[in-house]
């Protein structure tokens, strides 16, 4: 008797609840990305500034250590001083890592499923389109949190740990809230945008190029228009509403009570950002289907 006749049998156990399906997609995507050597290398490179900052925090809390290396602790005290703007600058610095990671992890998330027609397979299982989307988004979100929000929050905890001052955390709840908010201002729109673009193509390269075009081309036009526009006619800063990069640039300092670069109320930027995320949602709703309907 062939082997297969002895093996296949009916399943008599129970099935897990469907609400967990998105976690399977997320877990598989994260492991799939982690298996690639080059990806691990880029991820560690993106976390390099964090490692440097950990050393800085250690030194700031243990200035005496500098004596061993022949430095005068008093001369570097000001350089190593840590205040709220430090975290702001760190988040802005890590936003570049976010940009890299969102392209690396997000550009092929849905494009590869469209290329290999795996979308039909996914949706033929007892999962909803929302499960699929949430699972895929979680992959990009995981790595973006890993390079921006989590390191920054870790630094807050490390400051308290190195200085043995746990009151630092309770006394800076607002700081933690600001870090989380600013991270999401970057992470959510970038994830929504890359997923929407990835869902419109079958190629990782095309998705990457489209993402860069959407991000950088409006920025270039905005810069040109601002340079050319006569300020007496209208405030040229309004053109920055058309550039995602400029929107993020305007909203970030406001969250950390820093001076905003453009002379337009932040509410407009928040509104445009919401519209961008909403449009991405509409695109995803249209694209994530088991059947391509040609009208």
């Amino acid at each position: 008797m062939p082997v297969y006749r002895q093996t296949y049998s009916h399943y008599e156990g129970s099935y897990l609840p469907r609400s967990l399906a998105w976690t399977l997609i997320a877990r598989r995507g994260i492991l799939h990305a982690w298996r690639k050597k080059w990806f691990r290398f880029v991820l560690i490179a993106c976390l390099f500034p964090f490692l440097v900052m950990v050393m800085r925090f250690y030194l700031a809390a243990n200035l005496d250590v500098l004596n061993y290396f022949g430095f005068d602790p008093g001369s570097v005290r000001d350089i190593l001083d840590i205040d709220i703007t430090f975290y702001y600058r760190f988040l802005i610095m890590q936003s570049f890592a976010c940009f890299i990671m969102v392209i690396l992890t997000g550009s092929d998330l849905i494009a590869s499923d469209r290329r290999t027609k795996a979308l039909t397979l996914y949706l033929s299982k007892p999962i909803t389109r929302l499960d699929y989307l949430f699972g895929k988004a979680s992959i990009a979100l995981f790595f973006l949190y890993l390079v921006q929000m989590i390191p920054c929050l870790t630094l807050v905890f490390l400051y308290a740990f190195f200085n043995e001052d746990w009151g630092y955390i309770t006394g800076n709840i607002q700081l933690i809230f600001r870090i989380i908010l600013l991270s999401h201002i970057y992470i959510v729109p970038l994830t929504a945008l890359i997923l929407a673009i990835s869902s419109m193509t079958r190629s990782r390269v095309t998705a990457t190029v489209m993402f860069c075009v959407v991000f950088f081309v409006p920025e270039t036009f905005v810069n040109i228009l601002r340079a050319l526009m006569d300020e007496s006619w209208m405030n040229p800063d309004y053109f920055t509403l058309f550039s995602l990069g400029r929107i993020l640039e305007q909203l970030s300092p406001i969250i950390f009570k820093q001076e905003a670069p453009f002379d337009v109320h932040w509410i407009w930027y928040a509104l445009v950002l919401s519209v961008i995320v909403g449009l991405c949602g509409l695109i995803l709703n249209k694209q994530i289907r088991a059947v391509d309907v040609v009208k």
Partner: protein, 335 residues
Amino acid sequence: MNGFPNTYKSINHSLFQNLMDSTSIFQIDHLIVNLGRKTILRDISAEMPQGAVGLLGPNGAGKSTLLKTMMGFLKPDKGQIKVLGRDPRREGAQVRQRIGYMPEEDTYMPGMTAVEFVSYCGMLCGLPRNEAMLRAHQALHYCGLGEARYRTVDTYSTGMRQRIKLAQALVHDPDLLFLDEPTNGLDPQGRKSMLDLIQEITRQKNISVILSSHLLHDVETVCDYVLVLFQGSVAASGRIQDLKQMAQSSYIIRIKGDMETFIDALREQGLECQPSRDSRIQVRMKEKLGTDVIFRIAHESGAQIRHMAKEEMTLKEVFASAIQQSNGDAAASEG
């Protein structure tokens, strides 16, 4: 008119009334599905019992659309549909939990070994991790991919991809399998072995199958029931054996006497005759006409009937007749 009796579809409907009830795998009632501006399924009604059901029709007949509507991928514009007693529009996930779908397209998840792929599909269907892995090995062995289960799916040949699509559809132990053109791209040997496997699934494992194909041979080999679609409408439906018998019957006759006179006399009565080289005549009977007509004509033309046997139609002929009649119906309604 040459072809099926006009009452064909209604005969089948009443024929199945006693087979249905709770054991039907799907029930469709006046279903209309539009894709964009085009109507793909036009007011179709059908009901099929458990077992192997063939969904037959030429390319573009609406087979895949019907399958996708049953899966809940497409929303009907009108009519009712129930699969395994549930409405896929409202309970899509519950329906898909009990269904295994083997799509027509070459589809896979890149970068995974076969066993990872199949177990992942099992987990998506709700199997616990260990159970999914165990059943993935079983399903791959069962589908003849035991030796290749640690290879990445990207490196598989067309035949192997067909088999792995079947394995992923089977892994969670579905009650019903949707197989969309399962023999596409396979060589004759691969086709035979795939059809044997599907037969084994329906007969030994008691899993119902809906086999969508434009290949009559595949449907005839595997299925007990058939739903013939043509231009989005049901051309015929029912048990294949019954359809063959109900279709216009033909007889093979050998006579002693003047064959030409006999054939002319038959043709005068409106019967279709086809003489062959070995002195035999194939006579296709008209609806509600008994064999006594042939004997009477033979008597009148002075011929002796030495041999007379009923010839069973093949599914190909049934299919051709159904399509022919559907064409005629469409032309009549346009006229």
